[in-house]
Symmetry: D2
Subunit: 413 residues, 4 copies
Amino acid sequence: MDFEPSDRAKALLERVRAFMDEHVYPNEREAEEALDREVDADTPFPRILVELREKARSEGLWNLALPDPEVGSGLSNLDYGVVSEEIGRATLVAPYCFNVQPPDSGNMEILGEHATPAQRERWLEPLLDGDIRSCYSMTEPDTAGSDPTGLACAAVLDGGDWVINGKKWWTTNALGAQVAIVMAVTDPDGPKHARATMILVPTDTKGFTMVRPLSNMGHTAGPGHWEIHYEDCRVPADLSTLGGRGAGFKISQDRLGPGRIHHCMRLIGVAERALELMCERAQSREMFGTALAERQFIQDFIATSRTEIDQARLVTWHAAWKLDQVGNRAAREELSVTKLAVPTMALNVVDRAIQVFGGAGVSDDTPLAGMYRYNRMLRIGDGADEVHKQVIARMELAKVGKRATASATPVAS
Amino acid sequence: MDFEPSDRAKALLERVRAFMDEHVYPNEREAEEALDREVDADTPFPRILVELREKARSEGLWNLALPDPEVGSGLSNLDYGVVSEEIGRATLVAPYCFNVQPPDSGNMEILGEHATPAQRERWLEPLLDGDIRSCYSMTEPDTAGSDPTGLACAAVLDGGDWVINGKKWWTTNALGAQVAIVMAVTDPDGPKHARATMILVPTDTKGFTMVRPLSNMGHTAGPGHWEIHYEDCRVPADLSTLGGRGAGFKISQDRLGPGRIHHCMRLIGVAERALELMCERAQSREMFGTALAERQFIQDFIATSRTEIDQARLVTWHAAWKLDQVGNRAAREELSVTKLAVPTMALNVVDRAIQVFGGAGVSDDTPLAGMYRYNRMLRIGDGADEVHKQVIARMELAKVGKRATASATPVAS
Amino acid sequence: MDFEPSDRAKALLERVRAFMDEHVYPNEREAEEALDREVDADTPFPRILVELREKARSEGLWNLALPDPEVGSGLSNLDYGVVSEEIGRATLVAPYCFNVQPPDSGNMEILGEHATPAQRERWLEPLLDGDIRSCYSMTEPDTAGSDPTGLACAAVLDGGDWVINGKKWWTTNALGAQVAIVMAVTDPDGPKHARATMILVPTDTKGFTMVRPLSNMGHTAGPGHWEIHYEDCRVPADLSTLGGRGAGFKISQDRLGPGRIHHCMRLIGVAERALELMCERAQSREMFGTALAERQFIQDFIATSRTEIDQARLVTWHAAWKLDQVGNRAAREELSVTKLAVPTMALNVVDRAIQVFGGAGVSDDTPLAGMYRYNRMLRIGDGADEVHKQVIARMELAKVGKRATASATPVAS
Amino acid sequence: MDFEPSDRAKALLERVRAFMDEHVYPNEREAEEALDREVDADTPFPRILVELREKARSEGLWNLALPDPEVGSGLSNLDYGVVSEEIGRATLVAPYCFNVQPPDSGNMEILGEHATPAQRERWLEPLLDGDIRSCYSMTEPDTAGSDPTGLACAAVLDGGDWVINGKKWWTTNALGAQVAIVMAVTDPDGPKHARATMILVPTDTKGFTMVRPLSNMGHTAGPGHWEIHYEDCRVPADLSTLGGRGAGFKISQDRLGPGRIHHCMRLIGVAERALELMCERAQSREMFGTALAERQFIQDFIATSRTEIDQARLVTWHAAWKLDQVGNRAAREELSVTKLAVPTMALNVVDRAIQVFGGAGVSDDTPLAGMYRYNRMLRIGDGADEVHKQVIARMELAKVGKRATASATPVAS
């Protein structure tokens, strides 16, 4: 056992940290506002981010999330975790700088594995180059997101085309995206996990309607989270089917493991940042003549936050390590433990920091309120907390009986 | 002891409830959006609210919060509590309908008690009539809100005028208000609690600058919460001093007691509404073939919420009753207990409801996210949780010794 | 609405408080130890308690829990609640002083309602006089206590006798009791709620075996909680059947309502005592030169405890009031809310007090550890927390639809 | 980074696990009861434990906690952690089997480092051989345990003897110990951290009085936790001074680091065992016709427990690793994080298991209640939770300023 990050991770971390210090934090707020104001259907990235991305790319800090060394960094999940936490500290802005913003990073990963040469050329290459953005159209307003076998959006073959009909929402970063990866039922009578297919749909296709941006805890601007309706939306099947008919569920599961953990890695960074802010405020703010830092109410917030963060980070690293060692499926319980633990931890730490800042905490003069509203959905998306609890409980219950030592026999009966 | 509301409260509650059902809920979302879009410096109320207010006034459902029967309902705090919970269910909209929106209700109360005849005529009458709105300029960006004796904003007498200089923020509903009640230091060397004076400042006075609306958990539109700078802002002292020079602290304390409890009463309504929504969703939403209502994770949310709400309501009613019986000062611990208990409870219930609704919960398709962002500040304003904890602890510690029964003597020493 | 206790309750409270101060607290620890050491099959009460009981009885402070004025105080549940909290402050000892110790108080109540004249004479009279004790044999080691229709212990008629076979445990205060009220299945094929009968069994009956005292969080001494086996235990049916064949379930339900709330009333007293001890300790103990009371960690414990206690007390009083107004069945949700809220609250307050006392807290030099171990089972008995959550959730869910105002309609679908 | 335990740890773990399965669990309850009944001043270990210890020693599973390979296992803290968790599963009994029971393991460690040859021969050798037991007399009833510079117990030199006077309590395992290591003030006017000396006192010395066993959450039997009075207790200074006059504070601090983490390692085992029991019960117990395992209330307990345990284990391992890498002092924050996180976690998991078992959970038919009462003090001893919070908060606050990236500048001021 060894808790020292690899030399590679440490070296990369140092470079990312320097980049964050020099380029990201000083521009953070401006970039956030630019994202809100400048993105539109033809503008995937605001000008300030285009520049930051170019700088990062020129320094080789690019596509860091991709495990395939041919197209990305080739980092293990564990090594990426160390770096990703740093990026997560400026969670609304920094992922764009290094081209690791969701959902593009996950989309690039599944395209890397499943795209045909034509699909690679049309979509993957420009994504890797950072010229376009993509979105991922999975969740539906009228069916339970936790039950991916119960989707309603469907596609039927007509001639050589898929004709797609249905409603999706929470399609993240749809504004400014050139392509959507849509999960649609194609074989409703097939085996449960082979009913759906992933289909690549250019966002200017007829019948692809961006209905409205959803408010995310009050925030609607920028690339957003959209409701999208597919009405007789027609795309050529050969060019558009990703990974084969019926492979949708499998690909979505493959995508989920690293995706979940990437979110959690960033959230560790969010929490660290919030704790750092909390400590700064406690040092600098006086009340009744003494610094907040002298008050045990505040010390309690700080100590509790540190204790929660350290535990959450280690469980995230451990899950990443397990994912690297034995893969998605065998690491399922560890992934669920991480996904259950980290978002709630991060929201709690952010909430404490808001409380320490008072009026400045609920305002956007600190990044805290933004951290809260941007991340609340992570207790819902990619498996709600309750779903992960069920996964964990089932796996624990299945272990019973493997060892006979725990039994408790009443003495007298 | 008797937990039955008074006949008067029950009769009024019935009328308010009928009004809410007929007029408020059906227009709730539209009114919310109108508040965001239509309010400006010359438009205190959007058109739809003007109409709803006229309806309510014509039915005698007007100025319900005011304990002075000459100008308001004359309800006790306890009776008003029963009614106020109902109003709080549509917390962003309904208070406007009955002219009980903060900060006007509190402002009308202190004007009722302290205004000169000229001040009454110029400000109180149109407020009571619902023709104008007011704001309350107390909290400062650079001094601790919990320490009202440490204010920086100051006014000096020059000729017969107050000349005010300083910064205020979190001045709620400033956009569209015609008058601000400003707390300014006027006697910096006076006794600690006689240093500040409340001054009435028309918002079109030179030197009164509305700098920016503060984002409140991401929300900036509508009447808002503003940062306001006073730069050589000059008003005639005789027309503008409220309640006498040096009375600022005392008036602000008088205002706080009922103000805190009114917030809490509305929050009970918020929580009840969130629980009701949660139950409706649990009944109507299916996952893997069974209603959410069948799942114990959800039942846990529901039962925990009901248990927390009932306790919080009773402690609020109890504090209101104590306030009615013995007044602000003697009910101080009960008020702090209420202020500590209720906002956290309400935010927790709302958060559970958000979780039950999933994507719809974080969006504005339900009122839940709005309830969260609008109310988070109530753990900060009017005394942060930590301040109330200190008040309660001190009062409990002061009780020790009054009874000698609890002592624990080590046996062997 | 009115939160003032009745004159009767206040007057009685004053007398009980004086008795506690003069007689109970000074003898509390000695009486506790005497209970552990002196009780045996022939000694229902230790000498010191016999004396305290005589004193209380001579002052008319006797059988306070019984609502029937002919045999007891005739207090309403609400009035008794006010008094019972006081008694609960010395929870292991004081209930014996006033002859309100469980399970005798509950047993006297059902005997008062259902006993035949012969049963009254043989069992109820000496119980009311405080000459004997009784126990209540309901819970079984091998069936779920939360499902009273699934009992295994059975009685069959043979001649005019009930012949009882089965195992019971957690039969509280069995050591020193002269009679057990046993719940046995008598009509296994009858309607679900008419299968069981309550049978009075003298504890010296052949076939009634006291197998062992169960450890209760480590405590086994004194009247205890016993495992009892019934092996061909034979009693005459006419003298022993309580309230008629098949009435067992109904009587047990009648007993539960007030029983649950009596436990909670006492627990409020437990929590108040723990808070009082916490404050005394905080005032008197120094660390690094300042009193613990100056530390916000401790202030947090105190303020949180006060806030939780006040809420829990009010919800208990409210349930008692509802019980008085509309009876057991209609107050079911309020009773479940109370039973869910109060024991956890009390254990949390006691746990904080233990923490403030440190080593003295976990020892028996304070009553705190005893409060913890004696009361932990109240989250399990009389309906585990989880059972009450289910009751509450079902009742909340059933309310949905009665009012149509809460509905949330997605805007765009 | 690598989460795989070392080959050495894994191999040893396998042997310890086999020993636990074959010898410890089958005798666990009997050994527990023997500890309670058979230990006295002349009997350090009950017969059944003597036999188990011989077996373990003959298999080389002996003195596993000692990092000095000459006398013990020579395991790193991290490797020992892996093994210690397993031993902690039978926390009241198993440590004795491997001669790692506190306080002997810590005492052997400081004796190993500081004893003179004569002290080694007289005390360390027989401790290593498992022939005697020792105790550690530090905490005092009248001074705050968290402030080791404020001790009252004092020793003065008289001739060549230390003459000790003072009171100690919570001297663990004093009954049956042959020697006590006493911390006494010897230089009250010396520098703060050089005032106290550790003195070895044979327990049969005149003036060494074992006053009473303290109840530990209701438990007083067995080796116990004792109050000890020193009255003119005289020992020869040359034979009795450990590590030099004035070295007491330093030695106690050296002892604390590993000691704290050893407690936490065992507590992880406690929690794992409780979770295993919870799952077994959930699988085997039916209620209303379905297994508890099907109920989400129970699944919630299980999933939450797994999530908490995994986080706590990793933070413990991480602290052990840091301790191995950089030593006690530099790992201080990690040790405090661990000590803050683990005991509360373990008590919570045990409490949930108690709830799942119901009546059997609070009884001693399962090891759960024992786990609770034995371990509650670990939130108090070796630094109360609140002390560790302060340590962590101070270290976090000290980090502020080292990095300038987090600052939040209000926009408009």
